[in-house]
């Protein structure tokens, strides 16, 4: 059994504007010593997903299961959750300055976590352990830095302090939510190296939430790509990057500038992510997809295996052989589209190309047979 097994998790919030369906049925598993990368754009539900696991989404309607070491996290009381959060599952947030208390010395803040969970530890012991932790995360002169305040550290050093806090109680799982987004490239490289090193040392599981495909390519084992609150594609890292099946994954990979295609024009995904209050019908990606079939407008595809071994799965109606960035896969996609695109899908596709489709999927104009648009 996996360390963390999430099954069919759904999270929604009631707001004045309507029900926000942030997460709509997501399942995944993480093993000890493994890194799962969760990739998605803003509003894809990746942060809500992990915050729900830790009971940090008060007022949300939650359904599904999240089994961690055999207990369902979603059923825990606030007191029981407090035993898990920080101790067995630790979190590292994006912005270390707002996550640290500005008026307490960092050593005190680390010691407080230790003493809150391990009552028998004396103040002296806790203070010694915080010095050791700062040393472990590569902060120079930890004996002196332990009495500094957060503002006396640089961004990278502050993130190291956050990692030290996350490690304080030797958790089984670390959830890192965009931990390097606010950092410069050279510092980001240092922090990712540190996380990997510590993970190897203690066999901790790591969930890395990020919008940066570079970070995922660097440190993940498995990758889950999220779109509009659901997993669009889930696979071992190499499959995601070298033979993506979902048009959204493919679109993401093609829209980043890379050295190999430096002179080419970028190929962005048209439109923008949908509103989670007013989701489009069928597949939630269809208003932005280049391979719309009639079926996509009516029926939302679930994750289904793309490879024999079942490790690579994708939520798309295209045939399983249509995975990859090569010409062969592209031919198959085109062929499928020709066969599976009736009038309804063709209309959506043309409207999208002509730019008269709104992010929520509503069509604001009509494409005339000669290609002109009337609104």
């Amino acid at each position: 059994m996996s360390l963390l097994e999430v099954t069919d998790l759904a999270v929604s919030f009631s707001t004045a504007d309507g029900v926000v369906r942030a997460v709509r049925g997501v399942s995944f598993a993480v093993d000890a010593g493994q890194t799962l990368g969760i990739v998605g754009e803003s509003g894809s539900g990746k942060t809500v997903l992990t915050q729900t696991l830790l009971g940090l989404t008060p007022g949300a309607h939650v359904s599904g299961q999240a089994s961690f070491e055999g207990t369902d996290l979603l059923q825990l009381s606030e007191d029981q959750m407090r035993q898990v959060r920080g101790a067995r599952i630790a979190v590292i947030f994006q912005d270390p300055l707002t996550s640290l208390h500005p008026l307490y010395r960092v050593g005190w803040q680390i010691a407080e976590i230790i003493r809150a969970h391990e009552k028998s530890v004396s103040k002296k012991e806790a203070a010694d352990r915080s010095v050791d932790l700062l040393r472990k995360v590569g902060i120079p002169r930890p004996e002196q830095r332990v009495t500094d305040y957060p503002h006396q550290f640089s961004g990278g050093m502050r993130q190291r302090v956050m990692i030290a806090m996350a490690l304080a109680l030797s958790p089984q799982l670390i959830i890192a939510d965009e931990p390097t987004t606010a950092l410069d490239a050279t510092v980001q490289a240092q922090i990712l190296d540190l996380l990997l090193h510590l993970q190897m040392e203690s066999n901790t599981a790591l969930i890395m939430i990020t919008h940066d495909l570079g970070v995922v390519a660097d440190i993940a084992d498995d990758v889950m790509v999220m779109y509009a609150g659901r997993a669009a594609e889930k696979a071992p890292k190499r499959d995601i990057f070298y033979s993506p099946h979902h048009p959204y994954t493919k679109g993401l990979l093609e829209s980043i500038p890379s050295s190999s295609a430096a002179v080419e024009r970028l190929r962005p995904i048209p439109g923008s992510p949908p509103s989670l209050i007013n989701l489009p019908s069928g597949c939630k990606f269809h208003p932005r997809c280049g391979y719309v079939l009639d079926r996509c407008l009516i029926e939302e595809p679930g994750l289904r295996p793309v490879t024999q071994d079942g490790y690579h799965s994708s939520a798309c109606w295209l045939p399983v052989q249509a995975a990859g960035l090569g010409d062969q896969a592209e031919e198959l996609r085109e062929k499928t589209v020709q066969e599976g695109r009736g009038e309804a899908a063709a209309e959506v596709f043309e409207a999208e190309v002509a730019g008269v489709i709104e992010p929520d999927g509503t069509v604001t104009g009509v494409v005339e047979p000669d290609g002109s648009v009337t609104g």
């Binding site: 050279t186 090193h197 940066d212 570079g214 995922v216 390519a217 990057f241 970028l266 962005p268 604001t364």
Partner: protein, 348 residues
């Protein structure tokens, strides 16, 4: 690097220095030091081309942009636009040049007044410079909106009704209003989602072709800079350490800092990421209030020699390099030289 003020050059920046005084708090605010934000920077921006400026937080790239745009006065040096010096001009004398140099900012949420309608925001430049009023102004604003990919019917909407990518388009339309010759883009896509970034980058490149715009493009994402730039300048602690055509700077970097920066950039390719050897820089970026002596990079440089802490290297063309590729280093990186010392297995 030599400065040639020919017709192909739009903007020249010569020996520009910008210090910010550091004062004590209290009644008598004594100056106790200076932040050396930009220190003796020289380069030129060619007409119709893009100069990419890369560097980490605190390297002075945004300050430099504001100096060129005339938003803050420079301490010393000279900024010229089409051969006319514009630094040190009075507000009134500066006015015609403000139309020629526009800026696009990073944060599409903070750069637009949330209580004003989009039409009014984009129309501001026309009002301020008195170039169009009434129905004519509305027509021109709607034309701009269409040009940047916004629906002109959304003229009366508020910024909050637009997504991040669309807001950045509003910023682009506003910058474009007076048909400037230079647009300074300060991290224009770093707040946007990946799929939206590409839309805005393509828009910027279309506009450059259509209007013959020059860009000063500031970003910390090296791949984005490589994609949009013709020439690239690398800044470290207020100085340009390397400058040249992008293929030379990316392909055969000579400054150890450039090579370290390139080796640290995340690549969205698992095989590249796995095989790459990183140059892990030791220490942190020193304080710009009291920059290191000699070469500012020497305390962190894997190649530093005693000379580096004594004499500051000049930005000059190194032996064997193209005449357009300049490096400020006493001991430039040679082809095939490997600076990577620390592997994955070692604790950084």
């Amino acid at each position: 690097m030599s400065i040639t003020a020919d017709s192909d050059t739009l903007v020249t920046v010569e020996n520009v220095v910008k210090y910010f005084p550091v004062r004590t708090s209290g009644l008598i605010r004594r100056t106790v030091g200076h932040v050396h934000a930009v220190d003796d920077v020289t380069f030129s921006i060619p007409r119709g081309k893009t100069l990419g400026l890369v560097g980490e937080t605190g390297s002075g790239k945004s300050t430099l942009a504001r100096c060129i745009a005339g938003l803050i006065p420079i301490t010393s040096g000279k900024v010229s636009f089409e051969g006319t010096p514009i630094s040190g001009l009075s507000r009134r004398a500066m006015r015609p040049f403000r139309r020629e140099i526009q800026m696009i900012f990073q944060d599409p949420y903070g750069a637009l007044n949330p209580r004003r309608r989009v039409g009014a925001i984009i129309g501001d430049p026309f009002t301020i410079h008195g170039t169009a009023t009434g129905a004519e102004r509305k027509r021109q604003v709607q034309e701009l909106m269409e040009r940047v990919g916004l629906n002109p019917e959304h003229y009366n909407r508020f910024p909050s009704e637009f997504s991040g990518g669309q807001r950045q388009r509003i910023g682009v339309a506003r910058a474009l209003a007076l048909r400037p010759k230079l647009i300074i883009c300060d991290e224009p896509v770093s707040a946007l989602d990946v799929s939206i970034q590409a839309q805005v980058l393509n828009l910027l490149s279309d506009l450059q072709q259509d209007f013959g715009l020059s860009y000063l493009f500031i970003a910390h994402d090296l791949e984005v800079v490589r994609h949009v730039s013709d020439t690239v300048a690398v800044m470290y602690l207020g100085r340009i350490v390397e400058c040249g055509p992008k293929d030379l700077v990316y392909g055969s970097a000579r400054h150890p800092y450039t090579t370290a920066l390139l080796s640290a950039a995340p690549a969205a390719d698992p095989d590249t990421a796995a095989s790459r050897q990183r140059i892990i820089l030791t220490g942190e970026v020193p304080s710009p209030i009291d920059p290191p002596s000699g070469c500012r990079f020497h305390p962190r440089c894997p190649k530093a020699q005693p000379l580096c802490s004594k004499t500051e290297p000049l930005l000059e063309v190194k032996a064997g390099d193209a005449a357009t590729h300049a490096t400020a280093c006493h001991f430039p990186v040679e082809a095939g030289e490997n600076l990577a010392v620390a592997g994955r297995s070692q604790l950084p």
